[in-house]
């Protein structure tokens, strides 16, 4: 990290620990309260939701490295708010025409726009009908970006408070929620997004969401490992610290290599922000980070023995948060398919995929 990114990382770390750190994630889960409105408003004041929005559109005008730094900090303290989702949506809103007031609301935190792209919505006879696959954090959104396929195909914004909108919501293992979006409403409620090459922009939304989630997972895994490493040095068995057992040392070294290398990959991906390579790069980041985060957080539980299996210990929160985060970016198969597709059809091919 060099300049803006380390400043963002520092201020995020300080802010997130001030509002409760990892304990906040546990508290929110235990209270059944998925949304911490106070925290959300403060995040807005820090300018996070406009992080990558150009300054002339009211944002901070920063890029990939800052996004990664912010998301790592959020992951490290298990902040579950839809920050990555909001930033991803802002990328499209800032390029569309006539949506500047919605963008302003997003930046101010008063609107949360979810991208509901894995869905089949159809427009016929003036009505929009269809359902989406389950979307993490959708229950917190005020608006959804949807794509209508077939005739009159286009991208629309749906206000989620409208009649004819139904969310079928389930709780996740870490205190978040996942919801299907069911629509049966008049198309007049929707605003159609006017912009050049809207499908490219949608791809971009997904790419930014993937990069953000990947960085979140790196921060999360790294924080889990820091806890585990401390435990390896302090927990004693057979009269010695368990970290002196070579079996565990070697596994810890493997965890270190996994985290460090995926972090390196994501830093490369951050460099592609704003280029055609972002699609392939972010899919690569998501695949690599998902597999890494699961391996690392499971290993960290193993390092703890039974206390790691007990809900009262924080180490188990990381695996469960990794699960919902991975759910937010699609399964491994779809990320791999996205990578293959983007890497081979892009005009700027990635050389290792030649």
């Amino acid at each position: 990290m060099s300049g803006d990114d380390s400043m963002i990382a520092d201020s995020a770390r300080i802010f997130l620990s001030r509002i409760g750190g990892v304990a906040r994630a546990r508290k929110l889960r235990d209270s059944g309260m998925a949304f911490d409105a106070g925290a959300w408003n403060e995040m807005a004041k820090l300018g996070w939701f406009g992080l990558v929005v150009p300054e002339e559109a009211g944002g901070l005008g920063l890029g990939g490295h800052e996004l990664v730094a912010l998301m790592e900090a959020l992951g490290a303290q298990l902040a579950g708010e839809p920050v990555g989702e909001s930033i991803a949506a802002s990328v499209l809103l800032s390029r569309a025409e006539g949506l500047s007031s919605l963008l302003e609301e997003v930046i101010a935190g008063s609107a949360i726009v979810a991208s509901v792209l894995d869905a089949s919505f159809k427009l016929a006879g003036g009505r929009v009908r269809g359902a989406s696959r389950p979307v993490v954090n959708l229950a917190q959104a005020t608006h959804a970006l949807i794509e209508i396929t077939g005739e009159n195909g286009a991208v629309y914004v749906v206000p989620l408070k409208s009649a004819g909108v139904e969310l079928r919501t389930q709780a996740t293992v870490d205190g978040r929620t996942v919801s299907e979006l069911h629509l049966d409403l008049s198309s007049e409620v929707l605003s159609r997004i006017e912009m050049q090459n809207v499908s490219l922009a949608l791809g971009n939304v997904q790419a930014v969401a993937r990069l953000a989630a990947a960085a979140y997972l790196v921060g999360l895994a790294d924080a889990a490992f820091a806890i585990a490493l401390e435990y390896l040095k302090t927990r004693k068995q057979f009269g010695v610290a368990i970290g002196s057992f070579q079996a565990l040392q070697h596994r810890a070294a493997t965890v270190f290599v996994r985290i460090a290398s995926v972090r390196a990959l994501i830093s490369e991906c951050a460099r592609t922000f704003g280029t055609e390579r972002l699609d392939a790069a972010s899919a690569a980041a998501a695949c690599a980070a998902s597999a890494m985060a699961l391996q690392v957080t499971k290993e960290c539980i193993q390092f703890h023995g039974a206390i790691g299996f007990a809900d009262e210990h924080d180490i188990g929160l990381y695996l469960r948060r990794a699960m919902s985060t991975i759910a937010s970016i699609g399964d491994a198969g779809s990320c791999l398919d996205a990578f293959s597709k983007a890497a081979s059809v892009g005009t700027e091919k990635i050389s290792s995929t030649a």
Partner: protein, 385 residues
């Protein structure tokens, strides 16, 4: 590489690609084993003539002084065309070491010869009784007048039967196991008293050998560093060696094999196999990313202990994972010994799989690298079993 290329880099890639196409003979492409010295050194010489033999050497020592990106482009293009292995002990190990710790005379004599291929080097570290526990080497090196007289045996010496120079670890007082009794010497393999015997590998090639020393006299001016103070020299070289093993070259070559076998066996359009390929491509990009970051940390003086161990573990294990997939894709052909001439290229089913077992053994085994990381980076003390 995922890193966006500059126009200059793209032009460099195009230049490399077309030069490789024009200059690398067909029968030398997609080989798993290092070709015999004559052919290997001919390719080495061609790269030298073109100024590309030592991308990572600074210009002041006659190298290419390539940027990290240019290095990766060379790796990617080498793997793409299936360029053969050339001997690397001079280029990757002793050359960089002499730049750091050699005398001006040693540098002036050896570095140009390494570049031209006139000097072909081997590494005399391991002995029958000293592998991971390298500091226990017993080969004797007695100072007599202006010479060191060497008696003993080295083993697993890569290309030792083809090399004309060796760098070796010897000790003045046998039986000791002290790190500060070791001397690092350069020796001419044509000196009287040296006997060599090739050893065949599980993959079927004669890649390494045994070397016996019987009163081999070497001038004291061939000592690097001080007599008895060679351990620091030895480990500095190991760092260099592991960084070079840790480049994306090996994983990229494995990836090219995976594509070739998938194509040969009609799996290129199979969705499950496409996903496995994508996963492998991403793993290779991870190695490239790690390599870039390590080089940057070295350049900016921010390298942490264990960097070379980290890279070595990462690159070798990604390679082995990909080669596992090559085996799986080979299916019933997995045990076929002699590669088949595929529709447009040589397809290797088993050679690289067997050969790649070595990756986690040499250069300091991956177990030893994990112990180094645990102690130096993670602060986990005291190895207990």
């Amino acid at each position: 590489m995922i890193r966006p290329e500059t126009a200059q880099e793209t032009a460099f890639r195009a230049e490399v690609r077309s030069w490789f196409e024009a200059n690398l003979q067909q029968h030398l492409r997609n080989l798993t084993f290092r070709p015999a010295p004559k052919e290997s050194m001919a390719w080495y010489g061609a790269l030298y003539e073109n100024g590309w033999i030592a991308p990572h050497w600074p210009k002041s020592f006659g190298g290419m002084g390539a940027s990290a990106e240019e290095q990766v482009i060379l790796f990617e293009e080498s793997a793409r065309i299936g360029a053969p292995d050339i001997p690397t002990q001079g280029l990757n190990h002793i050359g960089p070491l002499l730049m750091k710790l050699g005398t001006p005379r040693q540098q002036a004599f050896h570095l140009p010869r390494i570049l031209s291929g006139e000097g072909v080097w081997c590494q005399g570290y391991s002995e029958p009784g000293s592998g991971s526990d390298l500091a226990s080497v017993q080969t004797r090196g007695e100072v007599r007048g202006g010479e060191i007289v060497i008696n003993g045996q080295k083993i697993w010496t890569t290309w030792g039967h083809h090399a004309n120079w060796m760098y070796a670890l010897v000790r003045a007082i046998p039986g000791e196991k002290k790190k500060n009794g070791i001397t690092f010497v350069l020796l001419d393999m044509n000196t009287k008293g040296i006997t060599r015997r090739p050893i065949r590998t599980i993959a079927g090639d004669d890649e390494f050998c045994e070397v016996f020393f019987d009163d081999v006299a070497v001038p004291l001016s061939n000592v690097v560093g001080e007599v008895d103070q060679g351990w620091r020299v030895a480990t500095s070289l190991l760092d260099e060696e592991r960084i070079r093993i840790g480049t994306p070259l090996l994983p990229l070559r494995a990836l090219a094999r995976l594509r070739a076998v998938m194509k040969h066996n009609g799996l290129s359009n199979d969705r499950e196999w496409q996903r496995r390929l994508a996963r492998s491509e991403i793993a290779v990009e991870t190695v490239t990313a790690a390599y870039f970051q390590c080089l940057e940390r070295f350049e900016t003086g921010n390298a942490a202990g264990g960097e070379s161990s980290y890279l070595k573990i990462l690159a070798t294990e990604v390679t082995q994972d990909i080669v596992d997939l090559v085996q799986e894709a080979a299916g019933p052909l997995r045990a076929v010994k002699v590669p088949s001439a595929g529709s447009d290229a040589r397809v290797d089913f088993s050679e690289m799989y067997l050969q790649s077992r070595r990756l986690s053994i040499y250069g300091g085994s991956n177990e030893i690298q994990r112990s180094i990381l645990a102690a130096q980076v993670l602060g986990l003390q005291g190895a207990r079993r």
